[in-house]
């Protein structure tokens, strides 16, 4: 990555020379540097959270308790969830936004470069605090990433305070990132880049950023209530003092449901960029994609209680939340059909980003379908808190969000480094991941339907065979990601064939008109939009 700076020197001699070494990364306000930092941070967190998943799967390889004690197991499920959501998926999308949004709208940088630096550099502190709590007396958070009261208030350890502060910092970081994206898109578009000319990745990120500033403060509020309930004697969630533990779930999921769309909307933007390129056609139904994204975002605010069907809500409320949830499948279906229609009669080729995008479309749809099953109230009474739910959200988050991030990295990596990545290695990574991820998550549907509860370190004997397969799939998926690590290290060391400016035949957009590798400073003078 250091050669990016070399490039900058002859490209923009009138600019101050970027400091070298660690200072370059600590003090950088360049959107490309910050994007790179976010992406590497997300990848390190992905491997960390993945290592915790390996502990979970090792324990569940056989029935009985053999490797870790149940309290540590609970810490692993909790911190795995927190790290993957707040440390891997969200920073990876923010990293992609940093790299791509200015390049796609013809802006020289993000609107608020200093805040951009801050929003990245507070993240490592948040996760250091969270991970450090694992090594303290009483252990780290063990109440699930959803930290339901009273588990997090009455039955948690003192390190809950550290959990709360780290969530505060993560929240501040993503709010700052979101504000930056919104201001950049509103004020920094090149002349002629009208709203309905913006690439869908920019659109989906704009809507995601609005979701972030709307719900991350609510998360900050609810963790603050947990903090004061636990340490300062308030009774927000304590029935003895007039509070209500069910209210925790309402406030949490008011944040939590828009949060799951925060983790998937940018993925829709990525797939909408990749599928047209390798189909050599324009995206089918651009305007309907924009409206579908907006309606998904709006609907996300009125479906939260479908996570709580078994708390004893009145039938009228259950019906409302069931129908509102099912309604979301309409705009989502519009998207899937648009991608399929884009491929229809296109000249398809199957380069690595396209392989990941196709896997995304199929597997995300499976995850969407199991979500639709979970939306049905009487059915949810059976599926609630079983492995069926685990299967559902891993299909939408791993083969959905994570696969889209990998697709994005493979798609734009040659633009970032100027060299084609190792295609053989990438194909190995794809096929190993694709097969293992399904061995890992598909059988979870069956054991869930058979009644295996989630978040348990031990299980009944009849689930033993499936769990063994799931664990084998898990280990294989974990190892496959080391291929990705190897590939990325090679790419950053600038190994590989140089690529053209357009990189992919059929790629369209401003980012493909600048040189490869992308110079340190781009669009100092705004481009002309046709």
């Amino acid at each position: 990555m250091s050669t990016v700076t070399d490039h900058a020197h002859h490209e923009d001699d009138h600019h101050h020379h970027a400091p070298s070494g660690i200072k370059r990364w600590l003090f950088t306000t360049n959107h490309k540097d910050i994007g790179t930092l976010y992406l590497w941070f997300a990848f390190i967190m992905f491997l960390t959270g993945g290592a915790m998943a390996m502990v979970i799967r090792a324990e569940l390889f056989q029935p009985g308790l053999q490797i870790v004690d149940p309290h540590f197991f609970n810490q692993m499920t909790t911190v795995h969830g927190l790290i993957m959501v707040f440390g891997a998926v969200m920073p990876a999308f923010t990293g992609l936004a940093n790299w791509l949004v200015p390049m796609m709208i013809g802006a020289p940088d993000m609107a608020l470069p200093r805040m951009n630096n801050w929003s990245f550099w507070i993240l490592p502190f948040a996760f250091t605090i969270l991970l450090a709590s694992l090594f303290m007396e009483g252990g780290g958070p063990a109440f699930g990433w959803t930290f339901y009261a009273p588990l997090s208030t009455t039955y948690s350890g003192d390190t809950t305070a550290l959990f709360v502060f780290s969530v505060h910092i993560m929240g501040i970081s993503s709010i700052m990132g979101a504000i930056n994206v919104i201001v950049t898109i509103f004020n920094m578009r090149a002349p002629g880049m009208t709203w309905m000319k913006m690439p869908l990745f920019v659109w989906t990120w704009l809507i995601t950023a609005f979701l972030l500033i709307a719900v991350m403060p609510v998360l900050a509020g609810v963790v603050t209530m947990v903090l004061t309930d636990k340490f300062f004697g308030t009774s927000f969630f304590d029935a003895a003092g007039g509070g209500d533990p069910v209210m925790f779930q309402h406030i949490f999921w008011f944040f939590g449901h828009p949060e799951v769309y925060i983790m998937i909307l940018p993925a829709f933007g990525i797939i909408s960029a990749i599928v047209p390129t390798f189909s050599r056609k324009k995206l089918f139904g651009y305007a309907s994609m924009v409206y579908a994204t907006t309606s998904i975002a709006l609907l996300s605010f009125i479906v939260w209680a479908h996570h709580m069907f078994t708390t004893g809500m009145p039938v009228a409320a259950e019906l409302f939340f069931m129908l509102a949830t099912m309604l979301i499948s309409v705009p989502t279906g519009v998207k899937v059909f648009n991608w399929v229609a884009t491929m229809w009669r296109g000249s398809l080729t199957f380069e690595v980003p396209m392989l990941f995008a196709l896997a995304f479309i199929v597997l995300f749809t499976i995850g969407g379908l199991s979500g639709l099953m979970l939306a049905i109230v009487p059915v949810d009474f059976q599926y609630h808190d079983t492995y069926f739910v685990v299967a559902h959200f891993h299909y939408v988050l791993v083969t959905g969000a994570i696969f889209s991030i990998m697709a994005a990295v493979y798609y734009w990596l040659p633009k970032w480094t100027g060299k084609m990545f190792d295609i053989t290695l990438a194909k190995w990574h794809f096929w190993c991941s694709l097969i293992s991820v399904n061995v890992l998550f598909f059988p979870m549907h069956f054991i869930g339907l058979a009644g295996m509860p989630r978040r348990i370190p031990d299980y009944a004997l009849q689930f033993a065979d499936f769990n063994k397969w799931i664990s084998i799939g898990g280990f294989a998926f974990g190892l496959s990601q080391l291929l990705f690590l190897w590939l990325l290290i090679k790419a950053c060391r600038k190994e590989g064939e140089p690529v053209s400016d357009q990189v992919w035949e059929g790629a369209e957009g401003l980012e493909w008109e600048i040189p490869s590798p992308a110079p340190y400073h781009t669009f100092e003078t705004p481009p002309v939009i046709k």
């Binding site: 608020l112 004020n187 991350m216 403060p217 209530m225 004697g233 003895a240 209210m247 009145p314």
Partner: protein
């Protein structure tokens, strides 16, 4: 857009940041506003099974002798609360509008003074707003010295407006140990 000069752009950015930060602060407040909103919503709809925390006044209520409602009482103590707690009468048949009294026996077998707080919950939840209590031990903290025992009364009538389809409902009291927070309140008061 980029037509503006650099300083104008910075001004526009600043204005926009202020608006967005205002949204963020507003949403943080909204998170907390959800707490009273939740209670108001539950009070209005009565869907949470919560009964009123204040005494009802019994005056000129017409007794509807054509209907008989069975009211069942369940008691439980929260984890770590050592008291014995039971209703003297497990179930009563009442006509809507008719005054009734049920006594609850509490005993503190522990070797320390404890302050208890009972929290009621009605099932089905829709019946909650029709249960009018003129007197209830659940309105206040109940202190018991070590080894002490007491009879706590609860007087109530069922509102004749109770929907016709409800013929039976359950009132559950959960007793919590609130000694530590009660002491804090006393020291502060």
């Amino acid at each position: 857009m980029q037509n503006n000069s650099k300083s104008e752009l910075n001004k526009d950015n600043g204005k926009m940041v202020i608006k967005l930060v205002a949204i963020v602060i507003g949403m943080f407040g909204f998170g907390f506003a959800l707490v009273p909103l939740y209670d108001v919503f539950c009070d209005l709809t009565g869907i949470n099974g919560k009964t009123s925390n204040t005494a009802a006044v019994y005056e000129s209520v017409e007794v509807d002798e054509s209907r008989t409602i069975t009211v069942e009482f369940i008691t439980r103590t929260n984890t770590g609360m050592p008291w014995e707690f039971r209703a003297q009468t497990r179930r009563v048949d009442v006509h809507p509008g008719q005054m009734s009294q049920v006594d609850f026996l509490v005993k503190n077998p522990a070797g320390r003074d404890i302050v208890g707080q009972a929290v009621p919950s009605v099932s089905p939840g829709t019946a909650a707003i029709y249960l009018n209590k003129t007197e209830c031990f659940c309105f206040n903290h109940q202190p018991l010295a070590a080894g002490e025992e007491a009879l706590m009364p609860m007087k109530f009538y069922v509102d004749p407006q109770l929907p016709k389809d409800i013929k039976f409902f359950t009132v559950q009291y959960t007793l919590y140990d609130v000694t530590s927070s009660a002491e804090v309140a006393m020291n502060q008061g």
